[in-house]
C-alpha cells in the first residue's frame, strides 16, 4: 500500500497501482491515471466503460470481468481492447478507482 498524488490530492493505491478507497476518486483522478497508462484522452466510449465498471463494483462489491463487461456494458470485447489496450477490465478498473478484477475461481 502506498500513496500517490492525483489531481492535487493524496490517493491510496495497492502495489499494482489500483486505488484502495473508491471514495478518493473523481473524474480528474481518472483522467490522470489514464494519462499515466498511455490513454491521452478519455472519450465518451471510455467513460461509458469506466462508469459501468465503477457502478458495478459499488453495487456488487466485485469488479466485473472482461466477459461481463462485453456482455453488459454494450461495448463489444474487440472494441474494449482498442479502448483499453492489453487488459480492458484491469485498466478500466484502475481508471475507475476500484480494486483489480479477479477471475473468480
Amino acid at each position: 500500500m502506498s500513496t500517490m498524488t492525483y489531481a492535487g490530492a493524496p490517493v491510496d493505491v495497492d502495489a499494482e497501482g489500483f486505488m484502495t478507497d473508491p471514495a478518493q476518486w473523481n473524474e480528474q483522478v481518472a483522467a490522470e491515471i489514464a494519462a499515466e497508462a498511455g490513454i491521452g484522452e478519455l472519450t465518451d466510449r471510455h467513460w461509458l466503460v469506466v462508469n459501468f465498471m465503477r457502478n458495478a463494483y459499488l453495487e456488487s462489491g466485485s469488479a466485473p470481468s472482461i466477459r461481463t463487461l462485453g456482455k453488459a456494458s454494450g461495448v463489444p470485447i474487440k472494441k474494449l481492447y482498442q479502448l483499453f489496450p492489453k487488459g480492458p477490465a484491469k485498466l478500466a478498473a484502475k481508471i475507475a478507482g476500484i480494486p483489480k478484477p479477479r477471475g473468480c475461481i
Binding site: S62, S65, I66, R67, T68, K71, A72, I77, K78, L80, Y81, P85, K86, G87, R102, G103, C104, I105
Partner: protein, 419 residues
C-alpha cells in the same frame, strides 16, 4: 406436506436430495429431482480419460440409481422457472409446483461463444476435455501425437475445476515422457490470467511447477478466436499462438433455462445468491448450489459438498419459517494431479488463499497442502469410490469439515482477503 423440486441430478442435486430424504420423513416432505437425462458423470474422471487412465463409459452411472428411495426422478428439459407462480415449467408442457426450489443445474459449455472453436479443425487439431465425448475424442488424438506443439488454453474464467487445465499440462508432460516423445513436443499453457492461477501463493508454486517441466506459460492471453485451419489461436489484442494440437476449455455459462427465467440469473446465466446462505436474490424460496450458483469460489465438487450442509439446513429453516444461517465460507479443496503418480492438495475459502500445511488434521495430515506427494495422488484416486458411495448418499467424509480451518497452515494470515 411441503414439496421440494431440485433441478439437476448431478453432484449438488443428488447430495441435497439424499441428505434431505435422510433428514425429513416422506410424509412431511416430497422431493422431486428433474434432469434432462439419466447420465451422471463423475467429472473429475474427465481429466484422466484423455490419457487412457479412465475409460469414457467408466465414469458414467445412472442418476436415478444414486437417489435414495422416496425421491422422485423426472427426465425432462426445463423451459423456465416461474418464480412468481412457484413452478418449474417443463419443455414438454408440464409444470412442477414447489414450496422450495433448489437449482443444481451445473454449468454449460458455451463453445459457440468463441469464434472458430468448433469450426475447421475441430476434432482434428482442436479438442477439449470437459465432456465425455470431447475427452474420448482427445484420447484418440493424444495416443497418436508424438511431435509438435501442444497448446492448452482456457478461454476465460469462470470454469469448472479451475486447476484442471494446469493438471492437464502436468499429465501431458508425464504422458509424453513415459512414451519417450517429450523432447519432440513443446507444451504451452495459455491463460487469460496474469499468472498460472488466481491465488498468489498457489500461482507462484504452480508457475514453478510449469517451469520445472519446461511448460511455457503464456499469461494474459485472452482468446478471441480459434483458427483451426491455419492452426493458431488469436487473442483479442491480436497475439497469435501457432499449434499442432490445441486443447481448449470453452467459456462456461449457466444452464439456458436460467436466462429464460426472469430475475433468476446474472449476466452469465448463473443463479445470483447470497454467498453465505445460498438463498436466491430472486425469491426467498429459491436456493442454488454448486456450479449453477454465482459464488466467488471455485466451481468444484468439493465446494458443492461443503455448500450442501448450509443449503440443507437453510431449506429446513426456511420451511419452518426460521431465520437462515450464513454459514458457507467459500471453502473448497482440490487435489491437483502433477503426473508421475504424485499430486498436490489445496484448501481455501473466500478470505484465505491456498497455503502450505497439512490436511485434514492440523500438523498431522496425513495429506500435505501445496506440496507434491504420492499420498495426495492416492487420495485423488481413492476419491472416486468415496464419491459414489459416501459423498452422493449424503454421508459426511470423516475428518473433513465444511468450514475451512486455518490450523496447521504456514500462514501469513494477516495478509487479508484475496478476493
Amino acid at each position: 406436506m411441503n414439496r421440494i423440486v431440485i433441478i439437476g441430478g448431478g453432484t449438488g442435486g443428488t447430495l441435497v436430495a439424499n441428505r434431505l430424504r435422510r433428514q425429513h420423513r416422506p410424509e412431511e416432505l416430497e422431493i422431486v429431482v428433474v434432469d434432462r437425462d439419466d447420465r451422471h458423470v463423475y467429472q473429475p474422471g474427465l481429466l484422466f480419460v484423455p490419457f487412457g487412465i479412465d475409460r469414457p463409459e467408466g465414469i458414467v452411472r445412472s442418476r436415478s440409481a444414486q437417489l435414495h428411495d422416496g425421491i422422485g426422478f423426472r427426465t425432462a428439459d426445463v423451459d423456465r422457472v416461474d418464480v412468481e407462480a412457484n413452478a418449474v415449467r417443463l419443455a414438454d408442457g408440464d409444470s412442477l409446483e414447489y414450496d422450495a426450489l433448489v437449482v443444481a443445474s451445473g454449468a454449460s459449455l458455451l463453445y459457440e461463444e468463441t469464434e472458430g472453436l468448433r469450426g475447421p479443425g475441430w476434432g482434428e487439431s482442436v479438442f477439449s476435455f470437459y465432456s465425455v465425448q470431447d475427452a474420448a475424442a482427445l484420447r484418440a488424438a493424444l495416443a497418436e501425437f508424438d511431435r509438435g506443439h501442444l497448446v492448452v488454453n482456457l478461454v476465460d474464467m469462470p470454469i469448472k475445476c479451475p486447476v484442471a487445465p494446469l493438471e492437464f499440462c502436468f499429465l501431458a508432460d508425464w504422458f509424453f515422457r513415459e512414451r519417450g516423445v517429450r523432447d519432440q513436443i513443446e507444451i504451452t499453457y495459455a491463460t487469460p490470467l496474469d499468472a498460472a492461477f488466481t491465488k498468489p501463493v498457489a500461482a507462484e508454486h504452480l508457475g514453478g511447477m510449469l517451469a520445472e517441466r519446461e511448460i511455457r506459460l503464456e499469461a494474459e492471453f485472452a482468446t478471441g478466436r480459434v483458427d483451426g485451419g491455419e492452426r493458431r489461436l488469436i487473442s483479442w489484442d491480436e497475439r497469435e499462438i501457432p499449434f499442432d494440437l490445441a486443447v481448449v476449455v470453452p467459456l462456461h455459462g449457466g444452464s439456458p433455462f436460467i436466462a429464460r427465467s426472469a430475475g433468476l440469473g446474472d449476466e452469465l446465466g448463473f443463479v445470483a445468491v447470497d454467498i453465505h446462505t445460498l438463498q436466491s436474490r430472486a425469491a426467498p424460496n429459491v436456493f442454488a448450489i454448486g456450479d449453477a450458483a454465482s459464488l466467488p469460489t471455485s466451481k468444484a465438487g468439493s465446494a458443492t459438498h461443503f455448500e450442501a450442509e448450509t443449503l440443507c439446513s437453510n431449506l429446513a429453516r426456511f420451511l419452518a419459517q426460521e431465520e437462515l444461517r450464513g454459514s458457507y465460507d467459500g471453502h473448497v479443496n482440490c487435489f491437483i494431479e502433477s503426473g508421475f503418480h504424485r499430486a498436490l492438495l489445496i484448501d481455501f475459502n473466500y478470505e484465505v488463499e491456498p497455503l502450505p500445511g497439512r490436511y485434514p488434521g492440523a500438523h498431522v495430515g496425513p495429506l500435505s497442502l501445496l506440496r507434491e506427494s504420492r499420498l495426495n495422488h492416492l487420495g485423488k484416486l481413492a476419491f472416486e469410490p468415496l464419491y459414489w458411495h459416501v459423498l452422493l448418499p449424503g454421508r459426511g467424509i470423516p475428518g473433513v469439515g465444511s468450514e475451512m480451518s486455518t490450523a496447521g497452515k504456514q500462514a501469513a494470515l494477516n495478509q487479508g482477503g484475496n478476493r
